[in-house]
Amino acid sequence: MRHGLAFLGWAGRYLWSGWAGAAGLFCIAAAWQAGHELYGSFILPAPLETVREVAKLAQDEAFRHAARETAERAGLGFGLAVLIGTTAGIAAGYSCAAMRLMRPVVTVILGVPPIAWIVLALIWFGASGGTAIMTVVVASLPISFAGGLEGVATRDRGLDAMARSFGAGPFMRLRTVTAPHMVSYLFPAWTTTAGSAWKVTVMAELLSNAGGLGGDLASARALFDIPRVTAIVLVTVGFALFTEYAVLQPVRDRLEQWRQAGQPWGVKR
């Protein structure tokens, strides 16, 4: 009962803090509207026009299918990148030799432009969803890797020694000492990964002509259907906002409640 109430209180506060975020988004919308009034509908359709186009597209079965396809690819790419990157990062953080070996490898992978991966993936997978997924994984894996590595490498050795003095095994130490500390390194990495997953998926789809929102974007561009282009962009951005503020942030907020406890009164949100 008490926990339930505490959860409700937290959820209410989290939702209420959405107003500030909405205000920021409406500022962008205002600037967008100004641009529209300056250049006209052909260059930049108005926000309202775009929202109407989105509503129209939402009724369209083919578009819904394309959006689902993109969501699946981005989600799978994100999941794989986070899983492989974080696991490898944690392993490398515990081993100095692995860390020294992996760091330049990560820099090399980060240095290869995503567009080059798309070309390579096109050759390996052809015009299919695999291209988009692989590009997402390769492009965003190093970020999660670096997050996991830094998180483990900067863990508090004193707390680790304390845990060992109480006979805590390696897994318990990872769970209770290292993992909560890593959260503050992993979540920024994961949010970046999630954001780039959507962008890279759409880009890979557009270039490989593999359907999804990217494929839709390609045909809208060919037809000079500008409202449709902005509508697709809006949908992609909406997806990115959703993953960040409806999936990742609430989890982080729950996991890092102890940080808020340390803040002085009046700073707590």
């Binding site: 020694a161 304390m162 060992r164 003095s165 109480f166 006979g167 318990m172 209770t176 406890a261 340390g262």
Partner: protein, 244 residues
């Protein structure tokens, strides 16, 4: 004997800290290890507690469980005071209800209030954090407790309270303790025996068994003992400000 250190030696990066150091801890005995800073007191404690391995010598432990109270509280900032106290129990795989009951009992023993137990360490004062750390050590029912200068960062009044708490707990639960400190008065207050570690890598330079039981010595006798030892050459290192 609960613990025997047999001719242990240790060095950091080739620089020896101590050599051939032997020390034994009897059942229910509180031994204070004093010495000037940098003489390797903490290293002896870490070796005894198994946190580091000695370069030479052997450590024999005749007990099942120990606990360490560190110089800093070393509480996990993401756990509440209650969960911190129960940490050692969780490491032993004890169930949630029992952990909670033990943590509540131990918290009351060290003078923590029920309402403070749901707070995170960041919300507790320095003294409360150190109380939590002591409760965490006691919660596991240890046979030996290692104290590594635990009360250096708290004010004089609170230090007395915490010392009394340790004295009462060791008398009640009959655990042995190795208490590292550089405060001779603190050592005289709460130990059965005092061992002085040299500041010049000479190992143990003096050993004194104190009269009476800890907790029964009044402030006057503690003060007089410390005053008398100040003239003693064996304790000269402790009061020598010119030493580098």
């Amino acid at each position: 004997m609960r613990l025997e250190l047999d001719r242990i030696g240790h060095a950091y990066l080739g620089r020896p800290v101590f050599e051939d150091l032997s020390l034994a801890l009897g059942e229910g005995e509180v031994v204070a290890l004093v010495g000037p800073s940098g003489c390797g007191k903490t290293t002896v404690l870490q070796i005894a507690a198994g946190l580091i391995d000695p370069l030479r010598g052997r450590v024999r432990r005749h007990y099942r469980r120990h606990a360490v109270v560190f110089q800093e509280p070393r509480l996990l900032p993401w756990l509440t005071a209650r969960d911190n106290i129960a940490y050692g129990l969780a490491a032993r795989g004890i169930g949630r209800t029992e952990r909670r009951a033990t943590a509540d009992r131990r918290a009351a023993e060290v003078g923590l209030l029920e309402r403070d137990l749901d707070k995170y360490p960041a919300e507790l004062s320095g003294g409360m954090r150190q109380r939590t750390a002591v409760a965490r050590a006691l919660a596991t029912d240890p046979e030996i407790v290692y104290f590594d200068e635990p009360f250096t960062a708290v004010d004089v009044g609170l230090r007395r309270v915490l010392q009394d708490l340790v004295i009462a707990a060791s008398a009640r639960e009959k655990f042995s303790a190795l208490f590292v400190t550089h405060d001779l008065a603190e050592a005289v207050r709460l130990a059965h025996r005092i061992v002085v570690l040299s500041g010049r890598q000479e190992g143990i330079v003096a050993e004194r068994t104190l009269d009476g039981m800890p907790g029964q010595r009044d402030d006057r006798s503690v003060f007089e003992t410390v005053q008398a030892w100040m003239q003693d050459p064996a304790f000269a290192d402790l009061f020598d400000g010119d030493r580098d």
